[in-house]
Every structure is written in structure tokens, then in C-alpha cells.
């Protein structure tokens, strides 16, 4: 395991987290048992939009084991936590008040001695609903007269805004137009939401075990909502079974906390899988109208985007992402001199929208890479060449884009060259030609995407302490939930102290043990938390060197960290002290080797890459089989290549899945029709091809590690590559676009229409309402700033 002190960074150190997980020693919330703990269950609305006429909990209250049954009227509940409120009129209560706005909206809370008792009682709650008009489709939500959720909004438009260039297509020889659906998907972490709230502890008024990404953020939010001093609240994020942007303090978590305080007993709520699919925030959900203007030679002139974002019920904050990261990244890896970007963000009677792996950036890369491929088809230029022609060049960084993004560093051509080499692009094209010539039943599709995304930004906290036994405790304010921070951050620290990784004890995810932190989201952790650990370790080493210099009567600059984990004098091997000895002396002198440190605020970093997807399309059935996926992702300097590849593999699975399989669907009445994993097409390993992953390493100048985020990049890059591959397989028939997911039936219909000469136009005009939105003003800029700060 020890690979030699001082040489951990950049090597595939095996995960220190795995032994506990593999031995079943995980600390997942549902594993927690506390004496006297109660179980909480919710009665959720089976109707998408309705007035609650009456709630009868009499029979439920009489069930054995039931402690209490509550509707909003029975509890003084704060509003549901919102990472960002889109509109003051669109406020979500923690339990439905007066109306329900989506199927799954919690209406009644049942508390019982056991989970089974709570669920049995929940069955007996009688709620009388008066159905109201329902709007499911985000474009129909724009229509005047569509049923609105909030009367004071006067419709479903939460934000309507026109921004950017007034005439971006001026001077174009050719304009390519497409309407793209970036479909709604469910997050589906292996572990759903889960919380245990314990009011019986002595050190804190409330101890909360929450499956989440950002325990300190959750603590601040919960304390504020409950009117408590946050120093009296402890939030622990134990082992978390995946979060992907969606795990934060939820409405249900607030109800659980309130009930624990009211009842004076610990309360547990663990979401069922059925609940998870309708209650946890969904992601994506945009309709994108995109027009790209080019000169005949392929040079981009300008782009006009008119985008609709689905916020779901109560104006879920994920609706804002279209105006945040999607807009910010609309220029992609290219020079596009003028861009217009109009948005409509609407409420619908569906599960509220939130952040999901990529959170706005995959939506941007999807439409940019799609329209570029359409343009390549239109102009008869190879999609690779068209991309190269318009790339931002390596010598242009740092660069502020038309959209206001401060790209830190990049070499888009290098990533593209590498991915084409690994995929053997020319050979693939030759094989495609042969199959077309032969009229094979299985046609080949080759999809290329080149992307850039945005990660991190901000500051992070770390604490490092050397103990008198020579062990070192390292803490960071980030909060891993599968990523492997304990391994990566220990590598970073071990290198500074020259000790084996086993000598590091890594602590995170507990507000009682870590002074502060922003948690994990937006692929921020290594670049900010890792940098914090690096800087703090260096500060501790510096202090130790000063002490050793004094003890060994030499100058601090002559003290070095030896290869055997001690502090010695350069060139005098016999003169050295162990870390334990130094720590002991430091403690005796009243200044233990402990440093708390916050990094300075850093700008966001911009990871990028290039993907090639190869698919086979069965021309008789429309079935798409992904054959290969080659990903070259540049996340700057890599700390642990094995962890990075793990992130890439997971990201690829998510991204490929959006292109081919996943979509959360409702019927016209707002009933979810993909509400179990039998209908909601989460793929398994059996559906996915073998991945080829590689990396170029272009350092970021914005942090000491040179690192950029990697948790979401592969998702951003892979979706458009696969979608482009499907369309590419049929491009010789004249097919120009197929919406995601590229289901067998959709692909079959495209083939059939192409053969019949009835292919639909991939373009139509967006709703006229969008032309009437105000142009960007002070209010809009404020919203945009808010949107950019939501980086999950």
C-alpha cells in the first residue's frame, strides 16, 4: 500500500474508504438505531394539482403504534428549504397547504413506533381533493390561460428574460436551426433521501444524521428555518449512497426535525424507492431553440438561443439553471462572436426541479454540440473539421467569453487529437462507408463532442494537526459521498509530511468535528478542498521546521522532510526528529502543531475534453447499441488517476444513459408513468460498452494543485457524443436530429420517415410569448448572479 513517502500525488493509491464499505461497516443513515426512535412516513398527493378540501386522520391516529398524524394545519412548519427561491410568489411549504402541486407532494406526516405501523396508518388517512387544471408540458405552461399554480404569478412564467446580442445572425451565409429537447431525468441515487433527527443528546439541542452533500450548509439552513442557534445544531453526513447534486435538506427533513423537537424523541425518515422517484428533485428539463449562423467556409458568426426551463412544482430551483450554467456555457469551446439568449422559466405540475450531475452544463454542451453537427451536415464539412476551425486556441487563455465566463486554461485541439487517435476515427469512417455501401442491417454511427464545463469557484476550509504519536489528522470542509476524498486528500497531505498514507486520519462531514465548510457539489472538492489541505499542510510543516531548527540549532530553511517521515537537517542524516517528537515539544510549549486555514476565494475552473461514441443502429427495429465510448477528459493536474477514472466511468454511464434510455414521463393529467425502476430505464452494466478513458493534463492557474473538477465532466461530454452518433448513423438518409432519449421507436420512426420522404423539420418557432419578455435589466442581472452562485 505504501508507495514511498512524498510520492503519492498522481498515483493510483487504492481507496482507503473501501474496507469499511466492503465489510458492511457502512454508517448509512438507515443503519442507525437509537433507543426510542420513531419512524416517519408521508401521505403524498396522488393528484397533480388540486385543492385540499379536507383531511381526516381519525382512523390513522387510532392505529396501534401510532404516535401522531399531522397535516400542515397541525404544525407550525417553516417553508421548505430552497437553495434558491425563483420568485417570492412561488413558495413551497414543507407540507402542502391548501393545494397540492405535483404527484408526490407530501400532505400528511405519520409518526409511529415502527416503519410498518407508520405505513399502515398512512393508508388510512383520508384526503378529499378538488382537482384543478394541470399543466405538464413546459411549453404549454407558457400559454396564456394555462392552469397556474400561484394566482399572484398570473401564469406559470417565473422568469422571462431576453439577453445578449440583438441581432446575432447578421452577416451569416447560412443559418442552421434546431429545436432540441433536453429531457427530464430522475437522479436515482442508490440510497434515497434519509434523515435521523435526535433531540435527546446532551451536547447539542439537535443532532441530525443527514444523507447529504453539504452538512454545514444543511446546518445553517435548518437552524435558520427552525429559529435555532446553529452552534446548537450538529449535522453529520455519514456514508452517503450517492447524491449527484440532489441531496440536501429537504421539505421532509424539515418536517422530521420539527416533529423530533415537538415529540422530544429521535425521528427517522428513510425514503422508499417509489417515493424517491417522485419526491427527490428531478434534473435537466429544457426545450432549446437554437439557431447558428455561419459563413460558407464554416466560420461561426453568431447564435440565437431561445430556451424554456422547466422548474416543476413550486418553481423548483433547478429551473434557474438554464439562466445560470446553461447560459454561461452556451459558447462552448468555440469562437461565437455574438450570442442572444432568451429564457422562459416556468412552473409545471411535476416534481420540482433541482440539480443533477452537471446541473446546466450538460444541457449547454448538448445543444451546442448538436447544432454544430447539424451545421457540419448542412455545409458538408466533417464534424471534426468544423469544430477545429472554430476552436478557441490554447494561446488565447485566459479568456472572457461572450457569455462572461472566465475560461482559465485549455487546449481543446489536443484533447480532440487524442480522442481521434484512440478511437481510430478514420478507420471508423471507412467502416461506416463500407456498411452504407453494402446496405447492412446494422449501420454504424460515429459521434464526436468537444466540450468545456465549469467547476468549483470559491474558498474552502481545512485543519491539519500532528499528534504526539506521529499520526496526522486532516480535515476539510468538503463532504465526500463516494468520491474518495479520504484517499485523495490523504495523498496530498502525506506528500507534504513525508509519511505513509496510513499515518493520516481523515475527518470530514460532521459539523461538530470540522469547523466550517461548503461541502461537495459542482465538482469543487479537489480544487478547493484539496488545495486547502495542501496549503494547511504546508503551514504546519513550516511551523514544524521552525521548531526543529530551534531544537537542532540550525536554520529553518535547512530543515527538510526526510524520506522516512522525519524532520532532519539537510545533509546531516543523523540529525532528525520524528513527527511525534516534534508534536510533543510543540504541545509542551503550548502551541500544538495544529493549523486551521481557509483558502482565498478562487475563480471557477473550466475542465474540457473530447469524446467519440460509436453506436450500431438496427435499421429494421431502430434499436441502438452503444459499441464503444472513448473519452479524453482534461481535469488539469490529477491527484489520483484511479479515482478520476471512477468519476469518468460513472459520468459516462449517466451521460450515455440520458442519450439512450432515461426519461421521466407524465401523462396529460400529471400522473408519473415512469415511477418505478421497471419503467424508468436506468441502465445496468449489461447495456453499457467498455469505456476507453484517457486524459490530457492542462493545469489550471487558479489553484496550487493545478486541478479542475472531474465529477461531472464525463456526463457533459458523453451525452452529445452518443446523440450525435445516433443521428450520424442515419445522416446518409437525410436524418438531421432525433430527440433524447433515442429510443428504438423514435429511431425507427426517423428511419421510416426518411424512407418515405416525410422527415419532419427539426425546427419550428418557439412560443410567441417569449418575444414579449423584457430585455435584461437590473433585475435580470441579479437573478443571473444568483443562478451562477447555485453550483451543485
Amino acid at each position: 500500500m505504501t508507495v514511498g513517502a512524498g510520492t503519492f500525488s498522481g498515483t493510483p493509491v487504492r481507496r482507503v474508504e473501501d474496507p469499511d464499505l466492503l465489510r458492511g461497516a457502512g454508517t448509512f443513515v438507515d443503519n442507525l438505531k437509537i433507543d426510542g426512535m420513531l419512524s416517519l412516513s408521508f401521505v403524498r398527493s396522488p393528484i397533480a394539482h388540486a385543492t385540499i378540501r379536507s383531511v381526516d386522520v381519525t382512523a390513522a391516529r387510532e392505529m396501534p403504534g401510532v404516535v401522531g398524524v399531522y397535516s400542515a394545519a397541525d404544525l407550525e412548519l417553516p417553508d421548505a428549504p430552497a437553495l434558491m427561491a425563483l420568485h417570492p410568489a412561488a413558495i413551497r411549504p414543507s407540507l402542502a397547504k391548501g393545494t397540492v402541486n405535483f404527484v408526490g407532494d407530501p400532505v400528511v406526516a405519520v409518526v409511529a413506533e415502527t416503519r410498518a405501523a407508520a405505513m399502515d396508518a398512512a393508508e388510512l388517512v383520508e384526503i378529499d381533493y378538488e382537482p384543478l387544471g394541470v399543466v405538464v408540458d413546459m411549453e404549454e405552461a407558457l400559454d396564456r390561460g394555462s392552469p397556474a399554480q400561484f394566482e399572484s404569478l398570473g401564469g406559470n412564467v417565473v422568469i422571462g428574460l431576453r439577453t445578449g446580442s440583438e441581432d446575432p445572425l447578421a452577416g451569416a451565409d447560412v443559418v442552421v436551426r434546431g429545436r432540441f429537447e433536453n429531457q427530464r431525468v430522475a437522479v436515482v441515487p442508490m440510497e434515497g433521501s434519509a434523515i435521523v433527527v435526535d433531540p435527546t443528546g446532551t451536547d447539542f439541542d439537535l443532532t441530525v444524521h443527514l444523507s447529504c452533500q453539504m452538512p454545514h450548509v444543511a446546518r445553517a439552513g435548518l437552524a435558520k428555518l427552525l429559529g435555532m442557534d446553529q452552534e446548537r445544531v450538529r449535522v453529520i453526513a455519514p456514508h452517503v449512497g450517492g447524491a449527484f447534486g440532489a441531496k440536501h435538506l429537504s421539505a421532509e427533513g424539515v418536517v422530521a426535525s420539527k416533529l423530533a423537537l415537538e415529540l422530544g424523541r429521535p425521528v427517522k425518515w428513510v425514503e422508499t424507492r417509489s417515493e424517491n422517484l417522485v419526491a427527490m428533485a428531478h434534473g435537466r428539463g429544457q426545450v432549446q431553440y437554437v439557431e447558428l449562423g455561419l459563413r460558407r467556409d464554416g466560420t461561426f458568426v453568431g447564435m440565437r438561443c431561445r430556451m424554456v426551463g422547466d422548474a416543476g412544482g413550486y418553481g423548483g430551483f433547478g429551473g434557474i439553471l438554464v439562466l445560470g450554467q446553461t447560459k454561461l456555457m452556451a459558447q462552448g469551446v468555440y469562437h461565437i462572436p455574438a450570442i442572444a439568449f432568451d429564457v422562459a422559466i416556468v412552473t409545471t405540475n411535476t416534481t420540482p426541479m433541482g440539480a443533477y450531475r452537471g446541473a446546466g452544463r450538460p444541457e449547454a454542451a448538448a445543444f451546442v454540440e448538436r447544432i454544430v453537427d447539424m451545421a457540419a451536415d448542412e455545409l458538408g464539412i466533417d464534424p471534426v473539421e468544423l469544430r477545429r476551425k472554430n476552436f478557441i486556441r490554447p494561446d488565447e487563455f485566459p479568456l472572457t467569453t461572450v457569455m462572461g465566463a472566465d475560461y482559465d486554461s485549455g487546449d481543446y485541439g489536443a484533447a480532440l487529437d487524442e480522442v481521434l487517435r484512440l478511437a481510430d476515427y478514420d478507420a471508423l469512417r471507412r467502416e461506416q462507408d463500407e456498411r452504407r455501401r453494402r446496405g447492412d442491417r446494422m449501420q454504424l454511427g460515429i459521434g464526436v463532442s468537444t466540450y468545456v464545463e465549469v467547476t468549483g469557484g470559491g474558498a474552502e476550509f481545512s485543519e491539519v494537526e500532528v499528534h504526539d504519536d506521529g499520526t496526522i489528522t486532516v480535515k476539510a470542509g468538503t463532504s465526500a459521498h463516494g468520491q474518495g476524498h479520504a484517499t485523495a486528500f490523504s495523498q496530498i497531505a502525506a506528500d507534504q509530511f513525508g509519511v505513509p498514507i496510513e499515518q493520516i486520519r481523515y475527518v470530514q462531514s460532521d459539523t461538530a468535528l470540522v469547523a466550517r465548510g461548503r461541502g461537495t457539489g459542482g465538482s469543487r472538492s479537489v480544487q478547493l478542498g484539496g488545495t486547502a489541505v495542501l496549503q494547511t499542510s504546508k503551514l504546519v510543516v513550516e511551523r514544524a521546521k521552525e521548531l526543529v531548527a530551534e531544537l537542532l540549532e540550525t536554520a529553518p530553511e535547512d530543515v527538510v522532510v526526510t524520506g522516512d517521515g522525519r524532520l532532519g537537517v539537510a545533509g546531516v542524516p543523523s540529525k532528525a526528529l520524528s513527527w511525534g517528537e516534534v508534536a510533543r515539544v510543540a504541545a509542551e510549549r503550548g502551541a500544538p502543531l495544529l493549523v486551521q486555514h481557509d483558502t482565498e476565494r478562487a475563480g471557477s475552473t473550466y475542465p474540457f475534453g473530447a469524446h467519440v461514441a460509436v453506436v450500431e443502429v438496427d435499421m429494421e427495429t431502430g434499436r441502438v447499441v452503444p459499441l464503444r465510448h472513448v473519452a479524453v477528459d482534461d481535469c488539469g493536474v490529477i491527484v489520483n488517476p484511479m479515482l478520476v477514472d471512477g468519476q469518468v466511468h460513472g459520468g459516462l454511464a449517466s451521460g450515455i444513459s440520458q442519450a439512450l434510455w432515461e426519461q421521466f414521463l407524465y401523462d396529460d393529467d400529471g400522473n408519473p408513468i415512469t415511477s418505478t425502476l421497471a419503467e424508468y430505464a436506468m441502465p445496468s452494466a449489461a447495456e453499457l460498452p467498455s469505456f476507453v478513458t484517457a486524459h490530457t493534463e492542462t493545469p489550471s492557474p487558479l489553484n496550487d494543485l493545478g486541478a479542475k473538477g472531474i465529477g461531472e465532466s464525463a456526463t457533459v461530454g458523453s451525452t452529445p457524443a452518443v446523440q450525435n452518433a445516433v443521428v450520424d448513423a442515419l445522416s446518409h438518409l437525410g436524418v438531421r436530429h432525433i430527440d433524447m432519449p433515442c429510443t428504438p421507436e423514435r429511431v425507427w420512426r426517423a428511419i421510416t420517415a426518411a424512407q418515405a420522404g416525410t422527415l419532419p423539420d427539426p425546427w419550428r418557432e418557439p412560443r410567441p410569448e417569449m418575444a414579449g419578455f423584457p430585455r435584461e435589466g437590473a433585475a435580470g442581472e441579479e437573478l443571473e448572479r444568483g443562478a451562477e452562485s447555485v453550483n451543485l
Binding site: 427495429t621 449489461a686 428504438p744 421507436e745
Partner: protein, 273 residues
């Protein structure tokens, strides 16, 4: 995701199971592998008050030669079918079909009797037994009776089994050397078929369709066309005749009809090659 409360009784024999069904009437439900019933109970879409567990009844998991037939105990699991040497030799269609059901966990729990008695039109094995022209043996209060697979599937999740009967045995004709094919079209390996086709060519041609109506169906129009000498393509064109395929989240009715034509053609081609 927690079922409503129920009583649980374990039957030690088919006779005891029948007696328990008689005793508890409509409140009782048989459970074997549980892979159809338990999900419905967890979603509280099924709320039987008595579960009669026949999963451990001894002597009902056999797969054996019996004259011109292979006899299979109703409790034989999909995994037993897919790995049975005698089945692979004598009725390879059934072994190959079992191999495509669900995933390994499902195949280790689910039983042939259970999937037939559940009668889901989207399940694979009922269509295979139907194409083979199998015989089902039911045990009731008055002893055993035989039901032809052709008569067994009555409606959506409805079979010829009486409320007090237990399916105990399935027999299919030996077909060593016969042509056969099982075509399953789905989006994910573990999914039910969007459309499936079981075909066996053994002097006569038997073809059955998965998920093309409210029950597993014989493609009689195709069989007739083959009998009267039509080409494979022409015969396959009749695949959706007499069917009423559903429209759902995976496929429209129209697309299912198209798939049936393609898959029947492929099945006939494979079975006759």
C-alpha cells in the same frame, strides 16, 4: 414499500396447499418464487390476507423425460431450466428462453409454474410453452386435471386455474433436433420484452408472441401461412393479425406490430436455418 399485514402459511405438499386455498378462499394467494406477487404487495396493489407458501413443497422441482414428453415440476426455477442438460438437448427453446428472463437473481427465485400461473402477457416462458403446445397439470380438491397451454391463458393476468387449484406440472413435447428461436426485444437486458417471439419448427410450426395482447398469443395467421407454403417474409407479414398490442411507455401499439413482423421473420429464419 412495506406490504400490508398478512398471515403466512407454509404448505408441505400440493394437497395441503389446495386444502389451505379451500379454507381461506379469495383471501389467500399462493406464493412460490414471489417475483411477481411480492412487488405488487410492496406497492400495496395486491393485499392478500393469507399467503400460502408452496416454495418448499418437496418433489416439485424435477425436469425429467417421460415418454415423448419432458415433464417439469411447477417449482423448477428459471435457473434450473436454463442449466438443465436434458432440457437443452430435448427442448432447447425452453432452456434458451429461461436464460433470457430478468437477471440471475430473478432466475434463481422465479419458478416456471409461477410465471405460467401469473399469466403475464409480457413474460417470456408462457409464450415458449404456448409455442411448444405444452400441457399444464392442475391439482384441485378433486384431484388432478390436464389443461392444454392453448386453453390456459384466458385474459389479462387470468388463467384457467381455479381459485382452489395449484399448478403442479408442465409437460412439453420432446423436440430434439427441431428448429427453434426465441427473439426478445427490450431496451435493457433485465426488462420484460417489448415484443418477443417463440418459434419451434418440428414438422409443424408453432409461433407464440410475447406482449402483443392481453395474454400470450399463438400467431395463428403466421402458422397458417407457413403451412400453406408462404415465404418467410410473407408469413411474417401476418404476425400482428389478430393481436391487440398495448401502447405504453416503451412502445406504441403501431411499433409493436412492426416489431412483431420483424421478429417473427427473424424467428422463422433462425428456426429454419
Amino acid at each position: 414499500m412495506i406490504p400490508a399485514a398478512f398471515e403466512y402459511v407454509r404448505a408441505e405438499s400440493a394437497e395441503e396447499a389446495v386444502a389451505l386455498l379451500v379454507e381461506h378462499g379469495d383471501d389467500a394467494k399462493l406464493i412460490a418464487g414471489g417475483h411477481s406477487l411480492l412487488p405488487l404487495m410492496k406497492l400495496r396493489l395486491a393485499t392478500p390476507t393469507v399467503l400460502v407458501d408452496i416454495g418448499r413443497v418437496p418433489g416439485l422441482s424435477y425436469i425429467e423425460e417421460r415418454g415423448d414428453e419432458i415433464a417439469i415440476g411447477a417449482l423448477a426455477r428459471h435457473h434450473d431450466l436454463e442449466t438443465s442438460a436434458v432440457l437443452k438437448e430435448q427442448v432447447p427453446l425452453l432452456a434458451a428462453t429461461a436464460h433470457q428472463v430478468g437477471d440471475p437473481q430473478v432466475r434463481h427465485r422465479g419458478t416456471l409454474g409461477g410465471t405460467l400461473a401469473h399469466g403475464d402477457p409480457a413474460s417470456d416462458l408462457p409464450a415458449a410453452v404456448l409455442a411448444l403446445g405444452g400441457t399444464l397439470v392442475a391439482q384441485g380438491p378433486n384431484g388432478r386435471r390436464e389443461i392444454s397451454a392453448l386453453e390456459f391463458f384466458r385474459g389479462f393476468l387470468e388463467t384457467a386455474l381455479g381459485a382452489d387449484e395449484v399448478l403442479v406440472e408442465i409437460r412439453v413435447p420432446k423436440a430434439a433436433g427441431a428448429g427453434w428461436s426465441f427473439q426478445k426485444f427490450n431496451r435493457r437486458a433485465q426488462d420484460w420484452a417489448i415484443v418477443g417471439v417463440a418459434a419451434v419448427v418440428n414438422g409443424t410450426t408453432g409461433i407464440a408472441l410475447v406482449n402483443m395482447g392481453s395474454t400470450p398469443l399463438r400467431a395463428t395467421a403466421v402458422e397458417e401461412a407457413v403451412r400453406s407454403g408462404a415465404s418467410v417474409t410473407d408469413a411474417a407479414a401476418a404476425a400482428s393479425q389478430g393481436t391487440d398490442p398495448p401502447s405504453d411507455v416503451n412502445a406504441s401499439s403501431e411499433y409493436r406490430r412492426h416489431l412483431a413482423t420483424v421478429l417473427v421473420r427473424r424467428a422463422l429464419e433462425e428456426a429454419s436455418s
